[in-house]
């Protein structure tokens, strides 16, 4: 074990005790993995452009029972019609009854009451490696969302994760498990916010697993509003059964270091996935998206579409791997990544990658880095929009396009508001667009 790893593990203390034997086994495997492999350095291909040296060397401590952020959240966010759950530094508060057809419980409660219910599900969609192993070793609580077979949720569920930086570095390990029953439909919004507090660094090491049953559909909107001291190292694992649908919109707005590893596996035939995303970096922010789509079953369709805006000295990394395995005949896999560089000092590293071992497939990927389309600019100017405003509008449209088609509209609106708040001249754009 390297000194770094040992140092971090010892600082983080012992794993939460008192769980069922299978969970202890899971935690032990995760710790062993970390002890043997260590934390990733730049020599590891997927970490080539993202350094976690600082993170690993920071003496993060577990948060001591943070005060609830519920009131802060309700004050800050307008009512978007969704049923809201607030999680403060890894601790979940449930308030009121969830919409009909869904059961929402604290993972800590489920582990205490009927631990066997989670045995086959925890760790099913996210491999216990690297920082996912760290979460597996240390998470204490989280949220279990079970949508009943055939249920159509009338209201979306909104899970608000709140990071609470303190005077000393703290780390939180939120965990989410979503199980969509056969034929069910739901919309889930996840927001990652930082409540102003101390100046120390804060690590959110989140793992979410989504298991979508046959013919079920989930719309998942994931919105991160980062701050300079916030580090987010998150994992999202999705598994789709026969004819399932997964519609994902990821919006990552800055952060000192914000990384998401999204792994989606088609386990059954005929399933569909749409993975859209937008990111914005400014100052010296660093945003990193690592997507893996695995076509294991025949006749599945995946479409990845990510767009990035890079300003200041910001650095964005995008890496998508589309894998089509031997038996996945009739697969369709498409990837697209477009980037706009807005400053002289911004950097983007993009790598849309395809690995195909089956001949009955249509696959494509495209990626571009460049400036705004001159024709679009000309069109707006010819309509009397001043150039600077036209640029603002096109820039906004470039990223907000990933939110198109989201239902209910209030959810999309929440994400758009967050994007506008980040962009220079956001108010002016809002005015211009009415």
């Amino acid at each position: 074990m390297s000194e770094q790893t040992e140092g971090l593990l010892s600082r983080l203390g012992d794993p939460p005790a008192g769980g069922p034997a299978w969970l202890d086994g899971l935690r032990e495997r995760a710790r062993t993995h970390l002890a043997e492999e260590g934390f990733p350095g730049k020599r590891r291909e997927r970490w080539r452009f993202t350094s976690v040296k600082d993170v690993v060397e920071t003496p993060f401590a577990r948060p001591d029972a943070p005060s609830s952020a519920r009131a802060w959240v309700d004050e800050r966010l307008a009512d978007d019609g969704a049923w809201r759950v607030v999680e403060t530094d890894g601790r979940v508060e449930l308030d009121g009854a969830p919409p009909e057809g869904v059961s929402v419980r604290r993972i800590a409660d489920v582990l205490a009451e009927e631990p066997a219910a989670l045995e086959s599900a925890l760790g099913a969609a996210v491999a216990g490696e690297e920082f996912a192993a760290l979460n597996a070793a240390l998470f204490e609580d989280g949220l279990l969302v079970d949508v009943a077979p055939g249920a159509q949720l009338a209201r979306p569920v909104h899970l608000v994760h709140v990071a609470c930086p303190a005077e000393a570095p703290r780390a939180a390990y939120p965990r989410l498990l979503v199980r969509m029953g056969t034929g069910s439909e739901a919309t889930l919004l996840e927001s990652f916010l930082t409540r102003p507090g101390g100046d120390a660094r804060h690590l959110t090491n989140a793992v979410a697993e989504v298991l979508v049953g046959a013919n079920a559909g989930l719309t998942h909107v994931r919105l991160t509003e980062g701050t300079d001291d916030a580090v987010q190292l998150a994992y999202l694992g999705v598994r789709l059964q026969r004819d399932a649908r997964f519609d994902s919109r990821v919006v990552a707005l800055g952060g000192g270091l914000c990384r998401l590893e999204l792994t989606l596996t088609f386990d059954g035939p005929g399933a569909e996935a749409r993975l859209d995303g937008a990111y914005h970096v400014d100052n010296s922010e660093h945003v990193d998206h690592q997507l893996t789509v695995i076509h294991r079953a025949p006749r599945c369709t995946s479409r990845v579409r990510y767009r990035g805006l890079l300003d200041g000295q910001g650095h964005a990394v995008f890496n998508a791997i589309g894998v089509v395995e031997r038996d996945a005949a009739g697969s369709s896999a498409h990837q697209e990544n477009k980037n706009l560089l807005l400053s002289d000092e911004a950097t983007v590293d993009t790598k849309p990658q395809l690995e195909i071992d089956c001949d009955d497939v249509t696959a494509s990927h495209g990626s571009t880095v460049g400036a705004l389309d001159a024709q679009q600019l000309f069109y707006l100017r010819s309509r009397g929009v001043p150039e600077a405003r036209a640029r603002d509008i096109l820039t906004y449209a470039f990223v907000s396009a990933v939110l198109d088609g989201i239902q209910p509209e209030a959810i999309a609106q929440r994400a758009r508001t967050a994007i506008l708040a980040r962009l220079p001249h956001g108010d002016a754009i809002r005015e211009a667009l009415g």
Binding site: L354, V361, A363, V369, G370
Partner: protein
């Protein structure tokens, strides 16, 4: 056509005189500093050359063989290779009857004349080429133009200042494992120098280069194009070999000064091994061009149908303002072949442009990876790149992988990458079949259409040959 092979045979004839048993003895398998010194001594090299080789060797000893490529092969025992010897001598055969009929069939399809077939197959024949006169005719023309075209071992003596200045300037000895190995033990290769303002009067190729040394497994090519000059260089390794697994680690360096243009074309058809993946060449090659001056241009065109394993990324460093880099590639892997190939375009100068067109075809159990890098540096204002890489899959046991790295640090850059992967359309096949084409011919036709953009970049005679090669290499892939 089959230039490398003819070349080698021509050379062997020359060498027969002094390529004695003793020489074979003093270069036993193994690689130590003594081997490097021996090679250098054999070539009567000046001290600086030996020092350069030794530096590379010492570096190489501390390096690890790269493992990141998507290829797998049993570990290579570098101490089991003989570093100063001709490629394995084939037994001299008495007549065509003794030659593997499969090989003859291939030659017949390539349209190689009978006499040439004999030569290629290693049958002892009397000289069919008046090699000396051929060479002198060309040499006279080149000399008149001021072009230097000679073995690099000769250039070390005749143009030491040029070799010293440019050797390792594009691919430094520290570059990578195989490049360092090559620097330590390279046996020979070509040296080309085009003086200022000269348009090389003919396409240069190894075909008519008279080279006293064997071109071995570790050749090194250095091409320098001075201001405003132009040269087109053809490299052919286009006939099947019957050798066992053999390591081929070459280095090619190109330097284009202001307004100069270098066009480098390769048709590679080393022995790919048999259906079960036995034998074949390990082709681990480092090729890089430096567009040193403003408005210079380097264009790589390659057709890769051979080798058991290909590991090759011809690249361009676009340093001069307005310089241009191009990469056109067709790579085919059939049977158990594995190819990890692509390019790197490094944009440093202002308004530099690059184009990458890559066509990968996988059949049988072939594994094909396009690995490309486009880097735009902070100062490369207005840089432009367009990349298109398409993969075609034939059969359900092959694989096609695309790994493009795009790293951009300049807001005015415009970088586009597009890639598709698909198989031959049933409708296209059906159309050809109902017009009376056999399935194999139909596939060959469709594949050639798929590669058209690249084949069009090849000099004419190469293009014809490449088309035929594609057809032959795909045999047995359908059905």
């Amino acid at each position: 056509m089959s230039t490398q092979q003819i070349d080698e045979l021509l050379e062997k004839k020359y060498e027969a005189g002094f390529f004695t048993d003793i020489e074979q003895d003093i270069a036993p398998p193994g690689l130590t500093e003594d081997t490097v010194r021996l090679i250098s001594t054999k070539k009567n090299e000046p001290d600086w050359m030996l020092e350069w080789r030794l530096k590379a060797f010492r570096l190489w000893q501390r390096m690890k063989e790269p493992t990141w490529a998507k290829v797998s092969y049993p570990p290579i025992d570098y101490q089991a290779i003989s570093y100063y010897a001709a490629p394995k001598q084939k037994p001299k055969l008495e007549s065509l009857d003794e030659v593997d009929p499969k090989l003859l069939e291939t030659y017949a399809k390539l349209g190689i004349p009978l006499e040439e077939q004999k030569l290629l197959a290693g049958v002892a024949v009397d000289a069919v080429f008046d090699s000396v006169s051929v060479a002198t005719t060309f040499k006279a023309t080149l000399k008149e133009a001021g072009v230097v075209f000679c073995p690099i071992s000769e250039a070390v003596h005749s143009h030491p200042e040029l070799v010293q200045r440019y050797l390792g300037s594009v691919v430094p000895v520290t570059d990578n494992f195989f490049a360092s190995l090559n620097a330590a033990v390279f046996s020979d290769g070509s040296f080309v120098y085009i003086p200022k303002g000269v348009r090389c009067p003919m396409e240069l190729s190894t075909y008519f280069r008279i080279n006293a040394m064997n071109t071995g497994q570790f050749e090194r090519t250095l091409i320098i194009a001075e201001e405003g000059s132009y040269v087109s260089y053809l490299e052919g390794c286009t006939a099947p070999q019957r050798d066992e697994n053999q390591l081929h680690a070459a280095v090619v360096e190109l330097v284009a000064h202001q307004d100069a243009e270098i066009k480098y074309s390769t048709v590679q058809n080393w022995y790919p091994g048999d259906e079960d993946g036995k034998g074949g060449i390990y082709n681990f090659v480092t090729k890089r061009g430096l567009c040193e001056g403003a408005r210079s241009k380097i264009s790589w065109t390659q057709v890769e149908t051979g080798s058991a394993i290909t590991w090759k990324y011809p690249s361009c460093v676009l340093k001069g303002d307005d310089s241009v880099g191009e990469f056109y590639s067709v790579a085919l892997s059939n049977m158990r072949q594995q190819a990890d190939t692509g390019t790197k375009m490094i944009h440093l100068g202002k308004r530099t442009r690059s184009t990458i067109i890559s066509k990968g075809i996988s059949a049988g159990h072939g594994q094909q990876t396009y690995r490309g890098g486009v880097t735009v540096g902070r100062g490369a204002d207005g840089a432009r790149n367009y990349t298109q890489c398409d993969s075609l899959l034939i059969g359900s046991r092959c694989g096609a992988h695309t790994i493009p790295y795009i790293d951009v640090k300049n807001r005015t850059a415009q970088v586009e990458h597009e890639a598709t992967t698909s198989r031959i359309g049933e409708d296209q096949l059906f159309y050809c079949r109902q017009r009376g084409l056999s399935e194999e011919d139909a596939v060959s036709l469709i594949v050639n259409g798929f590669c058209k953009e690249v084949l069009g970049e090849l000099p004419m005679e190469f293009a014809v040959e490449a088309q035929k090669l594609l057809g032959i290499s795909l045999e047995g892939a359908v059905g």
